[in-house]
């Protein structure tokens, strides 16, 4: 048979049809996809021994106990510890994905440490955004030694949700990360929840009653419901005074060495700091429970004051600081976590590192202690010894899920348990009654604030933030569909300034109101009295 062009094409056509009917192309397509997964440069966790380790999440004060599945030294899966008496096996979405944080693309990895140390001079203040830690006491002692100011907003109260039968929440995101998630949900069946706020937030949607109120009318709502709260009590009022004695207590802190207390500067609230009095402000953003808008901080600084922030990203105070020094992130940093807002008993637990921090990270407390010339010491161990000397409370160990009396531990055994992520919980008899609680009534505003989020979020939480919009992303604002401007990008404008935002619509937002994300840039221009508007770009 002559190999003419026609013959070759006929044979090739048959071969093509035969190939399509054979597994070859389909197998090769699959294999090519799998092959490309193993190309050099494609990240893959190293193989190694699979083991379980424990730590405590330090993303917020809840400090939930964490069980980490690790391959070699790399945590690959985080979960709760079911037997933990407070966190009860729950982790929030941020905590579940927290092992991604060390790899965050916007993470700060270098800073001018030596230059910052040289630039610090004059009257120094330390702004501590998570008071109650062992590091906080280091700051207080350092400020006492340097005649500086320790600035913090200590939480004044602790709530016992389990004692409450009626909870009136005035816009507090009780079911969206307010306290310890596992503890809140364990107590939830036992109380009737009345959520009073202008928009139907997720907490409002899950509450037994949602009272749609106008901003600034919180005091009237409490007065109107006072007799009912008393009849259906014990009552707990979140966001305002009016709780029963059984449900609200003074915030408690784990024992500290007497020597620290004697050498510590007083706690000063930011508004008590004299305007224009600080030459240097050191801001510890490594662990934050709150964000104080820059317009409240700036007046306290002298012209050309040096601002140094210890931070994991450039998104917060680093925008205003001369020096941004990089810090370890959870789960790299060894630090203690102060008592949660929903724990009337003082607690002490250490966030044991699950991974090594990259080189060049700064320990904020160590940096400040060096500045003040404090002697080097293992402060966490000293704090643990002070707790042990108190001889009270119980110790929960996550590995075996047991709680034992502190008295049954030697000092070394207690320290070993703490470094293995145990939780010390004070005895209930140490609860302190709260003498008086006053909460400022928010002023009327069309700005609604979404629940705060950690400074760094796992970049893989796209389902929550980008695709499903289940949680308002920090750089987004939500408006009622009737108010929506054209386009998805716009400017948020208030009398304090403006910033670029992404716009989304949410029918739960009342007409005329704007629900704002918790990005520092947005919070800086949304004061409590601000009226805001969104314009399309």
């Amino acid at each position: 048979m002559t190999p003419t062009r026609r013959n070759v094409l006929l044979f090739a056509g048959g071969a093509a049809a035969g190939t399509a009917l054979s597994p070859a192309p389909w197998r090769l397509i699959t294999d090519a996809a799998l092959w490309s997964e193993n190309w050099p440069g494609v990240p893959a966790p190293p193989r190694g021994e699979i083991r379980t380790r424990f730590t405590n999440c330090s993303l917020c004060r809840a400090g939930c106990a964490v069980r980490a599945r690790s391959v070699g030294d790399q945590p690959v899966q985080l979960a709760g510890v079911t037997a933990h008496p407070q966190s009860r096996g729950a982790l929030c979405p941020f905590g579940i994905a927290a092992h991604h944080l060390p790899f965050h693309p916007v993470r700060l990895r270098e800073g001018s440490v030596d230059a910052a140390r040289v630039a610090i001079s004059g009257r120094v203040g330390v702004l501590d955004l998570r008071p109650g830690r062992t590091a906080s006491w280091t700051y207080r002692r350092a400020m006492a030694a340097m005649n500086g100011i320790y600035i913090a907003h200590e939480p004044p109260v602790a709530y016992d949700l389990h004692k409450a039968r009626t909870v009136l929440s005035l816009g507090v995101p009780l079911l969206e990360g307010w306290g310890t998630p596992g503890n809140v949900w364990a107590a939830r069946p036992n109380f009737h929840l009345i959520q009073a706020e202008p928009m139907q937030s997720r907490t409002a949607a899950l509450a037994d009653e949602w009272l749609r109120i106008e901003p600034g009318t919180e005091e009237e709502v409490v007065a109107r419901l006072a007799s009912r709260l008393e009849a259906e009590g014990p009552a707990l009022v979140l966001g305002h005074a009016g709780s029963s004695e059984e449900t609200v207590f003074a915030h408690s802190e784990a024992p500290v060495p007497a020597a620290w207390q004697n050498a510590a500067a007083l706690v000063t609230r930011l508004e008590q700091v004299e305007d224009g009095s600080l030459d240097t402000l050191l801001i510890d953003e490594s662990a934050t429970d709150t964000y104080l808008p820059w317009y409240t901080i700036a007046p306290k600084l002298k012209p050309n004051a040096v601002v140094v922030t210890f931070t994991a990203s450039r998104g917060g105070y680093a925008r205003h600081a001369r020096f941004a020094l990089p810090v370890a992130v959870f789960p790299e940093a060894a630090e203690d976590i102060p008592t949660a807002i929903d724990s009337p008993e003082a607690t002490f637990r250490i966030s044991t590192p699950l991974a090594a921090p990259p080189p060049g990270m700064v320990d904020p407390a160590g940096f400040v202690a060096d500045l003040a010339g404090l002697p080097k010491s293992d402060t966490l161990r000293e704090r643990a010894d002070a707790i042990h000397q108190s001889g009270r409370g119980t110790v929960f160990t996550p590995a075996d899920g047991k709680s034992l009396e502190l008295k049954s531990f030697t000092a070394d055994a207690f320290w070993k348990a703490l470094t293995d992520s145990a939780t010390w919980i004070d005895e209930p008899g140490r609860r302190k009654r709260l003498p008086y609680l006053s909460e400022p009534t928010p002023r009327p505003s069309n700005v609604l604030f979404s629940p705060a989020t950690p400074a760094l979020l796992s970049p893989l939480m796209t389902k929550l933030y980008q695709e499903s919009n289940l949680q308002l992303a920090p750089n987004r604002v939500a408006v009622n569909p009737a108010d929506a401007p054209a386009g998805t990008r716009g400017l948020l404008q208030t009398e304090l300034g403006k910033c670029a935002v992404e716009i989304t619509t949410d029918p739960a937002v009342p007409p005329g109101a704007i629900l704002v994300g918790s990005a520092p840039g947005i919070l800086d221009i949304c004061g409590p009295a601000a009226r805001a508007k969104v314009v399309a770009l």
Binding site: N7, F11, G14, L21, S22, P23, R27, N38, A44, T52
Partner: protein, 182 residues
């Protein structure tokens, strides 16, 4: 010739079909024996071992997979027979304390997640449901490694993702991509 065109077309087709169905496996998969001539049958019949004696769960529920040499050494500290396979195992692995480099049929790409504890303890699935008669086989079949991907040709006798989906559908269980592909 009257049927020349059809003959050429089908000749090309048959050639490609033969190459695709019969030739591809030879070209694509590299076959190699396991390091130890292990018999599940001997262990099940003579030692009365059950699957989870060697392939158990850790305290956190994770699956131990192929046991390490320590587990084997518990019984094979000294030779337990006179077979060549036993002598090879003692001389080359137990005595020098060298882990056999088993080729795992079930090793999956990094983006595939499978929980044994969920299926075995919660779903009450028997090992044979997925591994067929692997637990009673007298010999370990050769490991067929895909030259392109480096992975095993299959887990056991052709078990693939479609079998997982089919079983979930048969059991009326919900499933989604993210259940396994994390």
């Amino acid at each position: 010739m009257k049927y020349r065109g059809k003959i050429l077309f089908f000749a090309g087709m048959l050639t490609a079909l033969g190459a695709g169905w019969a030739g591809l496996p030879y070209a694509l998969y590299r076959s190699r024996p396991q390091p130890v001539d292990f018999s599940h049958k001997v262990h099940a019949d003579k030692a009365g071992s059950k699957c989870d004696d060697c392939h158990g769960f850790r305290a956190d529920g994770s699956f131990t997979g192929i046991p390490t040499l320590d587990k084997c050494a518990g019984c094979h500290a000294a030779a337990m027979g006179t077979t060549a396979a036993e002598k090879n195992f003692i001389d080359h692995y137990i005595t020098p304390q060298r882990e056999p480099q088993w080729a795992a049929y079930a090793r999956q790409p990094e983006n595939v997640y499978f929980s044994h504890v969920t299926h075995v303890n919660r779903g009450k699935l028997k090992c044979e449901s997925c591994h067929a008669d692997h637990g009673s086989a007298d010999r370990l079949r050769p490991f067929e490694q895909d030259r392109l991907t480096g992975y095993s040709r299959d887990i056991w006798r052709g078990k693939k993702m479609t079998d997982c989906v089919a079983c979930h559908e048969q059991q009326g269980l919900e499933h989604s991509c993210l259940d396994c592909h994390k």
